[in-house]
Subunit: 336 residues, 3 copies
């Protein structure tokens, strides 16, 4: 039985298969592949697009989604093996995952890291525990990676300009008032490298280098399938000739849980907002950002409201790619 926890576990051909199925759904193909089946959407964090698109997508496939707010409406949850549960946690994932598996056919989890201890959180312990103990497939709705966003992004890129192999793909750090999760940055790196792009990661300082797990995975993907991965702090070089600009803000891992000391490095990126001037350096690039997105902080209105911005198409694609993922997992031999 396969889960959908990270695209690292799926080959480029398999992912392209999901994208092709998503494109078919988008073009009007119908399916009742979740008929009589249900999915639990477990949210430890807020959501607008994910909640909406999974619920509607499941319904369009004939299935039924239930939304569980895991911070508030359900019980605080423990994931550690052997834990003596005398603190705030009332429920162990071992029970929650097994019981939900008796009720539903798929479990989807959103669980951002706690921003306290990256060495522990880089293991993605909550969703890993769900995947270990659930007896139905588990889908990642964003933890320390965001694979559904990856597929939506790649589908939008393919729709706009065909294959990304050999294209110059710029992942640029952008300003934000606070340090954020690296999930979408990790994911952009994974999917662009897997599909053979020349990936440029533009950061204000080397401290914004992404976790070695993702850097080395990307280098492995490009060694195998073409493309390249570079990290730079040079804005002009990074934008020059770029075919794709993808924006994301994140916190620097060396200061994880100790964010006060990150401030001077963050300040070095004060001019990293995407502007028309920067876009003029590109090869008429498309530009995108997962949503939500702070206007005029990360990307200037003039760019967001231009034809180059494909963020709305990308967000729409969440619906279609997630239908492809749910269908693929539910139709496995072990899904029911």
């Amino acid at each position: 039985m396969r889960h959908f926890l990270s695209t690292e576990d799926w080959s480029r051909n398999e992912l392209q298969g999901l994208l092709d199925r998503a494109a078919a759904f988008k073009s009007g193909v119908k399916s009742r592949s979740l008929e009589g089946k249900s999915i639990a959407l477990v949210f430890f964090n807020p959501s607008l697009r994910t909640r909406s698109s999974f619920d509607i997508g499941a319904h369009q496939l004939g299935g039924h989604a239930i939304v569980l707010d895991a911070k508030g409406a359900t019980w605080p949850m423990e994931f550690g093996d052997g834990a003596i549960m005398d603190g705030a946690e009332e429920e162990h994932v071992r029970e929650a995952a097994r019981v939900l598996s008796r009720y539903v056919d798929l479990i989807a989890i959103r669980c951002f890291p706690e921003f306290k201890n990256w060495q522990a959180e880089r293991e993605d312990p909550m969703i890993s525990a769900f995947a270990k103990h659930a007896t139905v497939p588990v889908i990642n709705m964003e933890t320390i990676v965001h694979p559904c966003q990856e597929l939506a992004h790649m589908l939008a890129l393919q729709e706009r300009s065909g294959p990304v192999a050999g294209k110059n793909y710029l992942l640029t750090w952008v300003p934000h008032p606070k340090p954020l999760n690296t999930a979408v940055a990790n994911s952009a790196l994974l999917i662009a490298s897997k599909f053979g792009a020349n990936v440029r990661i533009l950061v204000p300082d080397d401290v914004y280098r992404l976790d070695e797990r993702y850097m080395s995975a990307a280098e492995r993907f490009t060694a195998e399938g073409g493309g390249s991965v570079t990290l730079t702090t040079d804005i002009e070089a990074a934008y020059s000739g770029a075919d794709v600009v993808y924006a994301k803000s994140w916190g620097a891992l060396p200061f994880y849980g100790n964010w006060g000391e990150e401030a001077p490095f963050r300040a070095k990126g004060a001019d990293f907002m995407i502007t028309p001037e920067k876009m003029a350096l590109t090869n008429n690039a498309v530009v995108s950002h997962c949503l939500p997105m702070r206007r005029n902080v990360k990307i200037a209105d003039a760019v967001v409201d231009s034809d180059a911005f494909m963020g709305i198409d990308e967000a729409e694609n969440r619906l279609h790619v997630q239908k492809a993922v749910m269908e693929a997992l539910a139709l496995q031999g072990g899904a029911e």
Copy 2:
């Protein structure tokens, strides 16, 4: 493409058409007019009836509703054009409205004013921004007016005693521990005047006059279609010969955002609760209140529990009128 933001934008004939359709639904007529369609119910504020009745109504029409809690479960939202989003807001309505429009066929919004600055809030900025940027019809689930409540109220009145044209319709301010939204008062004024009633607005002091936008709209409606609008502080005169008594508490607009100074005026209304004694002055009037309703503060138990009270019927009608509204909007040429 039409939205359902305020009954001001709909003619009396069009509204009567919705009421007739609602009455048909109530009498057992079935429809699958939302088959394959979905609606997003976006709540910035609490709800019992609205949430339940929209969800069930959509389901009865063959559609699918998703509920989004916009304060907590989703991202804080900005509506200002050109805003530099470096504060608490993570998402702009421009994106939220456009993305939801890719997922669903209708968007319904509940967004009460913030009680800070009436000059800004009287423009109903959040739902106006949704209506501007959404590419599907938008329904008002209560902002500074409450048009679905208006229809439910008018249907209950017509069921009880036929057309309201020429009847004496008393909208009475009633006590409440704190200043409330004027939405339902504005709406009662709009719908009663549009349908030709002689509207009496009873308040403890002229400072409780409703916003000029609604006062002048009501005068225009009665000038065109019959009826009248008067504002009074005389309890006995207001109740005498009334055919309908509708209760609502609201804050005085001159003290908006500065509520401490409203207290002495609020105190003047201490005796405005609806009692059997006041009801005895009427023409055997029906009495109602949108729900929730504080018993023995706004209306005495003896009145609520009498046959004159039609608030439960009115609340039931929310289901039927909202089905009529959803159907009418979804069947527009531009709805999908």
Copy 3:
């Protein structure tokens, strides 16, 4: 019209009928007995299993569930007759119950006691008010009893080892950092005694005796149908020869609302966690706990992860028994 508020109101034969229907559902029998019907799930407290299993169960029966978060997403609710509602409560159950009854065919309520005044709370005032004013059947999703859990538990016991009549059934208090609701303990006592078990209640001190209402009901049931009820503080005697061990922690009623003084009595139960050593005293007993459950505080991992633990089966059974309850209530003459 019957509600499902407590198993006290249902005969052993009736309850067995529900269990048999639940077993049929579990074995694959389909039903569309809620076709065109809906149920409101009103939660004043958190839930994982209850929310999931009622929603999915209703859907599997062809019905439609709506989830209402009564603390936050809806209005604060008053239940007292004649209340002057000038406090925090905005809505009276008299209205909420009647309005929901116009929208849905069944109403289910979770409302834990407030832990302030047991003399008032032992009357179960909120759900009692709903049952009084609703015009559709009301289902208890846990208040001061938890009858759906009782059925799920009894079904799991019957699946494991047939009828419980004459078996030694140990309800053991177990440690927990704070005083909890007695609901599941009350319910275990009610259902085990109703089905004729020899019930042993093991507590650290007599102050943990359950409310007289349930103690005397259990004595009445065993007098009529066989079995017995004893209260003990002797761990070894309680476990010796037990066929069933059911764990629950609860607060001592004499200290209700005054919990500081309970601490020394709670300390007397520090060794009450279920361990392999205690289980070795039993007659190869099955062991269970409603979920959520604190591992290594209430029950040691080695017991939870042994074949003797039937808590996951019991949790699964919530789905099946609740389908039986919803169907039985919806098919009553008065249900629609």
